[in-house]
Protein backbone atom coordinates (compact mmCIF):
# COMPACT_ATOMS: atom_id res chain seq x y z
CA UNK A 1 0.00 0.00 0.00
CA UNK A 2 1.35 3.34 -0.95
CA UNK A 3 0.63 6.45 1.09
CA UNK A 4 -2.05 7.58 -1.33
CA UNK A 5 -4.02 4.40 -0.81
CA UNK A 6 -3.68 4.64 2.92
CA UNK A 7 -4.86 8.20 2.89
CA UNK A 8 -7.73 7.34 0.55
CA UNK A 9 -8.92 4.62 2.84
CA UNK A 10 -8.56 6.88 5.82
CA UNK A 11 -10.38 9.85 4.33
CA UNK A 12 -12.95 7.68 2.60
CA UNK A 13 -13.75 5.85 5.80
CA UNK A 14 -14.03 9.08 7.74
CA UNK A 15 -16.27 10.56 5.09
CA UNK A 16 -18.54 7.55 5.01
CA UNK A 17 -18.74 7.22 8.75
CA UNK A 18 -19.43 10.93 9.01
CA UNK A 19 -22.18 10.64 6.43
CA UNK A 20 -23.81 7.75 8.23
CA UNK A 21 -23.51 9.68 11.46
CA UNK A 22 -25.31 12.61 9.85
CA UNK A 23 -28.39 10.51 9.28
CA UNK A 24 -28.12 8.64 12.53
CA UNK A 25 -27.69 11.26 15.21
CA UNK A 26 -30.85 12.28 16.88
CA UNK A 27 -29.98 15.87 17.50
CA UNK A 28 -29.35 18.04 14.49
CA UNK A 29 -26.32 19.70 16.00
CA UNK A 30 -24.45 16.41 16.06
CA UNK A 31 -25.59 15.72 12.56
CA UNK A 32 -24.18 19.05 11.54
CA UNK A 33 -20.86 18.33 13.20
CA UNK A 34 -20.72 14.95 11.54
CA UNK A 35 -21.37 16.59 8.25
CA UNK A 36 -18.47 18.96 8.88
CA UNK A 37 -16.27 15.96 9.49
CA UNK A 38 -17.42 14.46 6.23
CA UNK A 39 -16.67 17.65 4.43
CA UNK A 40 -13.20 17.76 5.87
CA UNK A 41 -12.57 14.22 4.81
CA UNK A 42 -13.76 15.12 1.36
CA UNK A 43 -11.45 18.09 1.31
CA UNK A 44 -8.68 15.64 2.08
CA UNK A 45 -9.79 13.48 -0.83
CA UNK A 46 -9.74 16.52 -3.06
CA UNK A 47 -6.17 17.20 -2.02
CA UNK A 48 -5.35 13.61 -2.83
CA UNK A 49 -6.83 14.18 -6.24
CA UNK A 50 -4.62 17.21 -6.69
CA UNK A 51 -7.54 19.63 -6.56
CA UNK A 52 -6.13 22.01 -4.01
CA UNK A 53 -8.34 24.90 -4.92
CA UNK A 54 -11.47 22.80 -4.66
CA UNK A 55 -10.27 21.48 -1.32
CA UNK A 56 -9.82 24.98 0.03
CA UNK A 57 -13.10 26.10 -1.43
CA UNK A 58 -14.77 23.08 0.11
CA UNK A 59 -13.57 24.11 3.53
CA UNK A 60 -14.29 27.80 3.07
CA UNK A 61 -17.72 27.41 1.52
CA UNK A 62 -19.08 24.33 3.19
CA UNK A 63 -17.32 24.21 6.52
CA UNK A 64 -16.78 27.93 6.89
CA UNK A 65 -20.07 29.29 5.67
CA UNK A 66 -22.79 26.81 4.94
CA UNK A 67 -22.41 24.70 8.03
CA UNK A 68 -22.08 27.74 10.25
CA UNK A 69 -25.38 28.83 8.82
CA UNK A 70 -26.84 25.45 9.66
CA UNK A 71 -25.57 25.62 13.22
CA UNK A 72 -26.88 29.09 13.44
CA UNK A 73 -30.37 28.12 12.43
CA UNK A 74 -30.36 25.06 14.63
CA UNK A 75 -29.45 27.18 17.62
CA UNK A 76 -31.92 29.84 16.71
CA UNK A 77 -34.78 27.37 16.49
CA UNK A 78 -33.52 25.52 19.53
CA UNK A 79 -34.44 28.53 21.59
CA UNK A 80 -38.07 27.79 20.99
CA UNK A 81 -39.88 24.64 21.82
CA UNK A 82 -38.37 22.44 19.18
CA UNK A 83 -39.46 18.88 19.58
CA UNK A 84 -36.64 16.76 18.34
CA UNK A 85 -37.96 13.80 16.48
CA UNK A 86 -35.78 11.14 14.99
CA UNK A 87 -36.72 8.83 12.21
CA UNK A 88 -39.77 8.30 10.16
CA UNK A 89 -42.11 5.50 11.04
CA UNK A 90 -41.40 1.88 10.23
CA UNK A 91 -42.83 1.08 6.80
CA UNK A 92 -41.49 4.17 5.15
CA UNK A 93 -38.12 3.66 6.75
CA UNK A 94 -37.83 0.08 5.58
CA UNK A 95 -38.84 0.99 2.06
CA UNK A 96 -36.35 3.84 2.07
CA UNK A 97 -33.47 1.63 3.14
CA UNK A 98 -34.30 -1.05 0.58
CA UNK A 99 -34.49 1.55 -2.13
CA UNK A 100 -31.25 3.07 -0.90
CA UNK A 101 -29.44 -0.25 -1.09
CA UNK A 102 -30.72 -0.83 -4.62
CA UNK A 103 -29.68 2.66 -5.53
CA UNK A 104 -26.21 2.18 -4.10
CA UNK A 105 -25.85 -1.13 -5.91
CA UNK A 106 -26.70 0.51 -9.16
CA UNK A 107 -24.30 3.34 -8.48
CA UNK A 108 -21.49 0.96 -7.75
CA UNK A 109 -22.34 -1.03 -10.85
CA UNK A 110 -22.06 2.11 -12.90
CA UNK A 111 -18.82 3.11 -11.22
CA UNK A 112 -17.22 -0.26 -11.87
CA UNK A 113 -18.63 -1.34 -15.21
CA UNK A 114 -20.58 1.21 -17.06
CA UNK A 115 -17.78 3.67 -17.51
CA UNK A 116 -15.70 1.22 -19.44
CA UNK A 117 -16.85 2.29 -22.83
CA UNK A 118 -16.97 6.01 -22.18
CA UNK A 119 -14.49 8.74 -22.79
CA UNK A 120 -13.53 8.77 -19.16
CA UNK A 121 -12.27 5.24 -19.26
CA UNK A 122 -10.47 5.63 -22.54
CA UNK A 123 -8.66 8.73 -21.39
CA UNK A 124 -4.98 8.32 -20.75
CA UNK A 125 -4.71 7.30 -17.12
CA UNK A 126 -2.72 9.80 -15.21
CA UNK A 127 -0.38 8.18 -12.79
CA UNK A 128 1.54 11.16 -11.53
CA UNK A 129 -0.19 13.35 -9.02
CA UNK A 130 -1.28 16.16 -11.28
CA UNK A 131 -2.04 19.26 -9.33
CA UNK A 132 -4.64 21.59 -10.70
CA UNK A 133 -3.69 25.11 -9.76
CA UNK A 134 -6.01 27.93 -9.02
CA UNK A 135 -4.65 29.53 -12.13
CA UNK A 136 -5.97 26.72 -14.33
CA UNK A 137 -9.43 26.93 -12.86
CA UNK A 138 -9.46 30.70 -13.06
CA UNK A 139 -8.48 30.56 -16.70
CA UNK A 140 -11.32 28.19 -17.51
CA UNK A 141 -13.78 30.19 -15.48
CA UNK A 142 -13.00 33.43 -17.19
CA UNK A 143 -12.79 32.12 -20.72
CA UNK A 144 -14.76 29.03 -21.57
CA UNK A 145 -17.21 29.23 -18.69
CA UNK A 146 -17.54 32.97 -18.43
CA UNK A 147 -21.26 33.01 -19.03
CA UNK A 148 -22.10 30.32 -16.48
CA UNK A 149 -19.80 32.09 -14.09
CA UNK A 150 -21.71 35.31 -14.52
CA UNK A 151 -24.97 33.46 -14.19
CA UNK A 152 -23.91 32.08 -10.83
CA UNK A 153 -23.57 35.65 -9.63
CA UNK A 154 -27.17 36.15 -10.64
CA UNK A 155 -28.16 33.05 -8.70
CA UNK A 156 -26.44 34.42 -5.65
CA UNK A 157 -28.11 37.77 -6.09
CA UNK A 158 -31.49 36.12 -6.42
CA UNK A 159 -30.82 34.08 -3.30
CA UNK A 160 -29.75 37.21 -1.47
CA UNK A 161 -32.92 39.05 -2.34
CA UNK A 162 -35.02 36.00 -1.66
CA UNK A 163 -33.61 35.56 1.80
CA UNK A 164 -34.08 39.20 2.65
CA UNK A 165 -37.70 39.06 1.54
CA UNK A 166 -38.29 35.82 3.41
CA UNK A 167 -36.90 36.83 6.76
CA UNK A 168 -37.94 40.44 6.78
CA UNK A 169 -40.47 40.86 9.52
CA UNK A 170 -43.90 42.10 8.61
CA UNK A 171 -44.09 45.87 8.50
CA UNK A 172 -40.52 46.22 9.55
CA UNK A 173 -39.13 49.60 8.68
CA UNK A 174 -35.82 49.81 6.98
CA UNK A 175 -33.18 51.33 9.15
Amino acid sequence: MNPEQILFILFGAVALIGAIAVISFRHPIYSALSLIVTFFAQAGLFVLLGAHFVAAAQVIVYAGAIMVLFLFVIMLLNLGTLSVKGMMSGKLKGLAIILGILFAAEGIYIAVNALNDTAVASAEPTTAAVTTTTYDIGELLFSKYLLPFEVTSLILLAALIGVIVLVKREGQEEN
Binding site: Q5, A15, L16, A19, V22, I23, P28, S31, L35, T38, Q42, L45, L48, L49, G50, V54, A57, Q58, V61, A65, I66, L69, F70, V73, L76, L77, G80, S83, K85, G86, M87, M88, L92, K93, A96, L99, G100, I101, F103, A104, G107, I108, A111, L115, A119, A123, T126, V130, I137, L140, L141, P148, F149, T152, L156, A158, A159, L160, G162, L166
Partner: protein, 99 residues
Protein backbone atom coordinates in the same frame (compact mmCIF):
# COMPACT_ATOMS: atom_id res chain seq x y z
CA UNK B 1 -5.78 5.09 -7.08
CA UNK B 2 -8.14 4.06 -9.76
CA UNK B 3 -11.08 6.16 -10.63
CA UNK B 4 -13.52 3.44 -9.66
CA UNK B 5 -12.73 3.68 -5.98
CA UNK B 6 -13.59 7.33 -5.89
CA UNK B 7 -16.75 6.75 -7.84
CA UNK B 8 -17.86 3.96 -5.57
CA UNK B 9 -17.22 6.14 -2.57
CA UNK B 10 -19.17 8.90 -4.25
CA UNK B 11 -22.08 6.54 -4.90
CA UNK B 12 -22.08 5.39 -1.30
CA UNK B 13 -22.04 8.93 0.03
CA UNK B 14 -24.82 9.87 -2.33
CA UNK B 15 -26.93 6.95 -1.27
CA UNK B 16 -26.37 7.82 2.35
CA UNK B 17 -27.71 11.25 1.57
CA UNK B 18 -30.73 9.81 -0.21
CA UNK B 19 -31.56 7.52 2.67
CA UNK B 20 -31.13 10.40 5.07
CA UNK B 21 -33.59 12.51 3.13
CA UNK B 22 -36.05 9.66 3.17
CA UNK B 23 -35.90 8.65 6.78
CA UNK B 24 -35.36 11.82 8.76
CA UNK B 25 -38.14 14.07 9.95
CA UNK B 26 -36.18 17.14 10.81
CA UNK B 27 -36.13 19.50 7.86
CA UNK B 28 -32.68 20.77 8.74
CA UNK B 29 -31.19 17.32 8.68
CA UNK B 30 -32.94 16.63 5.41
CA UNK B 31 -31.26 19.71 4.13
CA UNK B 32 -27.89 18.49 5.33
CA UNK B 33 -28.47 15.26 3.50
CA UNK B 34 -29.07 17.19 0.33
CA UNK B 35 -25.73 18.87 0.88
CA UNK B 36 -24.25 15.45 1.31
CA UNK B 37 -25.57 14.39 -2.06
CA UNK B 38 -24.22 17.50 -3.70
CA UNK B 39 -20.86 16.78 -2.18
CA UNK B 40 -20.89 13.23 -3.39
CA UNK B 41 -21.49 14.59 -6.86
CA UNK B 42 -18.60 16.98 -6.35
CA UNK B 43 -16.35 14.10 -5.46
CA UNK B 44 -17.27 12.34 -8.66
CA UNK B 45 -16.65 15.52 -10.62
CA UNK B 46 -13.20 16.00 -9.20
CA UNK B 47 -12.27 12.36 -9.59
CA UNK B 48 -13.27 12.32 -13.22
CA UNK B 49 -11.57 15.64 -13.74
CA UNK B 50 -8.39 14.14 -12.44
CA UNK B 51 -8.90 11.05 -14.58
CA UNK B 52 -9.33 13.16 -17.70
CA UNK B 53 -6.42 15.38 -16.72
CA UNK B 54 -8.29 18.62 -17.11
CA UNK B 55 -9.84 21.17 -14.79
CA UNK B 56 -13.35 21.34 -16.21
CA UNK B 57 -14.74 19.03 -13.56
CA UNK B 58 -13.40 21.30 -10.88
CA UNK B 59 -15.01 24.29 -12.51
CA UNK B 60 -18.27 22.44 -12.23
CA UNK B 61 -17.63 21.82 -8.59
CA UNK B 62 -17.30 25.54 -8.25
CA UNK B 63 -20.71 26.02 -9.83
CA UNK B 64 -22.24 23.32 -7.67
CA UNK B 65 -20.91 25.06 -4.59
CA UNK B 66 -22.41 28.33 -5.68
CA UNK B 67 -25.78 26.75 -6.21
CA UNK B 68 -25.48 24.93 -2.90
CA UNK B 69 -24.71 28.15 -1.08
CA UNK B 70 -27.68 29.91 -2.62
CA UNK B 71 -29.90 26.95 -1.95
CA UNK B 72 -28.87 26.71 1.67
CA UNK B 73 -29.46 30.38 2.26
CA UNK B 74 -32.94 30.23 0.79
CA UNK B 75 -33.76 26.89 2.29
CA UNK B 76 -32.78 27.88 5.79
CA UNK B 77 -34.69 31.11 5.46
CA UNK B 78 -37.74 29.09 4.49
CA UNK B 79 -37.22 26.77 7.41
CA UNK B 80 -37.02 29.72 9.77
CA UNK B 81 -40.22 31.17 8.31
CA UNK B 82 -41.97 27.82 8.58
CA UNK B 83 -40.86 27.54 12.16
CA UNK B 84 -42.18 30.99 12.91
CA UNK B 85 -45.60 30.06 11.56
CA UNK B 86 -45.94 26.44 12.56
CA UNK B 87 -43.65 26.12 15.57
CA UNK B 88 -42.19 22.97 14.08
CA UNK B 89 -39.81 21.91 11.38
CA UNK B 90 -40.68 18.26 11.34
CA UNK B 91 -41.74 17.56 7.82
CA UNK B 92 -44.43 15.12 8.87
CA UNK B 93 -46.11 17.87 10.84
CA UNK B 94 -45.86 20.47 8.11
CA UNK B 95 -48.58 19.03 5.95
CA UNK B 96 -51.03 21.79 5.20
CA UNK B 97 -51.00 20.65 1.59
CA UNK B 98 -52.21 17.22 2.48
CA UNK B 99 -55.02 16.27 0.15
Amino acid sequence: MALEYYLVLSALLFTTGVIGVLIRRNAIIIFMCIELMLNAANLAFVAISRSLGEATGQVFVFFVMTVAAAEVAIGLAIIVSVFKHQQTINVDEVNSLKG
